[in-house]
């Protein structure tokens, strides 16, 4: 069963910190799909990704009191927990994050859109505003969890170029998502 578009849900941080389960359910509804997508691209295995998501969300629930609103948005905080849990899970299996084949699919596709191996929901597709190079750089680092160095090596360009592409891509994305 596919969840409907729930991106406009407002999550109350105060309620979350007070261990309010309704607030946690809101958080889950809003972000679990986005988090699962990123975890999937790091571990490249549906079953493992679901386990990592579950473990990460339990960590998030147990540690809501440690979240500091002044340091980052709730999504950045949750994403860091998911990323670390995913990378730990990979280490336990003896592998490390690798570039996913769907990145290559993007590269050969004529439009700049991503051809993901997962179901996309409510796609506005802001990546179409970017150049292919910018889009690839952002996907390699953001969605696949590669370091900037690994992404540079994979895309066969200097590290400085990767940084510039990500930065220029984000300049555009900041305008797209400006609040």
């Amino acid at each position: 069963m596919i969840e409907t578009n729930t991106h406009n849900i407002h999550v109350s941080i105060a309620a979350l910190k007070a261990k309010d389960k309704t607030a946690f359910a809101d958080l889950y509804d809003k972000y679990s799909g986005a988090l699962l997508n990123i975890i999937l691209r790091i571990v490249n295995n549906q079953e493992l990704a679901e386990d990592v998501l579950q473990e990460s969300l339990l960590k998030i629930w147990r540690n809501t009191d440690k979240y500091d609103e002044n340091k980052s948005t709730i999504f950045t905080w949750m994403l860091n927990i998911c990323r670390n849990t995913a990378i730990d899970a990979l280490r336990k299996k003896g592998s490390r994050p690798t570039i996913q084949t769907n990145i290559e699919n993007v590269y050969v596709s004529s439009s700049h859109t991503i051809e993901s191996n997962v179901n996309l929901i409510g796609v506005k597709d802001s990546l179409k505003y970017l150049t292919t190079e910018q889009s690839l750089a952002i996907q390699a680092v953001y969605f696949s969890g590669l370091t900037h160095e690994d992404a540079a090596q994979y895309l066969n360009v200097p590290l400085g170029t990767i940084k510039t592409r990500i930065r220029m891509g984000l300049v555009t994305l900041k305008k797209v998502f400006a609040k």
């Binding site: 946690f24 679990s32 629930w61 999504f75 994403l79 860091n80």
Partner: protein
């Protein structure tokens, strides 16, 4: 426009993308806390990447949500039952106490008898040794007097130093260098009341002859020059500062600069 340079360096993007060293992480968190421009930029990057992530949501099987909430609920049940069993343990101890009261009063009788014997022996011992003690006491008293004199003199001579170095008012900070000098540290001591600042144990690499390290305090988003320092000397007294919110070290031209060059930031610590 150092802050702009910092923003343009791409470090904020790397931070949000999770690709920074622990040093760089602390640096970004410190600077974004101090400079509203950096914080604002950081939040924009975070929202852009959140927006992007939400666009590419995967479908989550419904049983995952069910699993998570089942686990959360069962954790709560375990916690509650633990609290109940603790209460039971306490009441058990109380009832044992009442049962043992008879045997306890017997023990008390023996204890009283033993105490009486002990007091009697101590009294006779005291009488026996009293004369010897009196002689020794006189000698000791004169020693104590001379020690007291010494103590007053020592107290007097250290009084001022103690006042300026009182533990309560002094804070010691260990600054960890970033990737420009990995693993290196230095100490900054700051007296919040007097404003005195000292640096010590500087492990930073030696500077070229035309450069010097410069210490800065950050206050309300403004850098305050605390002077330059050398790497190969001990405790150095820097310029005074009140109300500092962070300390930072940059490499500057010899003699120091009016504003810090964030590209050459070596270490920063939030207070």
């Amino acid at each position: 426009m150092n802050v702009n340079d910092y923003i343009l360096s791409g470090i904020l993007e790397q931070y949000v993308l999770g690709d920074v060293s622990p040093q760089e992480k602390q640096e970004v968190e410190c600077l974004s806390h101090i400079y509203p421009e950096i914080k604002e930029e950081l939040t924009k990057v975070e929202f852009a990447l959140e927006g992007l992530a939400l666009e590419y949501s995967a479908s989550v099987p419904t049983h995952i949500k069910q699993n998570i909430f089942d686990l959360i609920n069962s954790e709560e049940t375990i916690n509650t039952s633990q609290t109940t069993s603790n209460t039971k343990v306490i009441s058990l101890v109380d009832s044992t106490d009442t049962k043992n009261s008879t045997s306890k009063s017997n023990i008390n009788k023996y204890l009283i008898a033993a105490s009486v014997l002990l007091i009697a022996s101590i009294s006779s011992l005291y009488l026996f040794l009293n004369s010897t003690f009196q002689a020794k006491e006189l000698a000791l008293n004169s020693k104590i007097e001379s020690l007291n004199l010494d103590k007053v003199q020592i107290e007097e001579s250290y009084k001022n130093q103690l006042a300026s170095l009182s533990i309560e008012n002094n804070k010691i900070f260990v600054l960890q260098a970033n990737n420009k000098a990995p693993g290196k540290t230095m100490i900054v001591a700051w007296n919040k009341v007097t404003g005195h600042v000292y640096v010590n144990n500087i492990q930073l690499p030696s500077t070229p002859t035309d450069k010097q390290y410069q210490l800065w305090a950050l206050k309300d988003g403004k850098p305050i020059d605390l002077g330059v320092f050398e790497v190969n000397t001990n405790l150095q007294h820097m310029k005074n500062v009140q109300g500092a919110q962070a300390f930072a070290v940059t490499l500057e031209q010899k003699g120091g600069s009016p504003t810090p060059n964030l590209e050459q930031l070596y270490a920063i610590i939030n207070i």
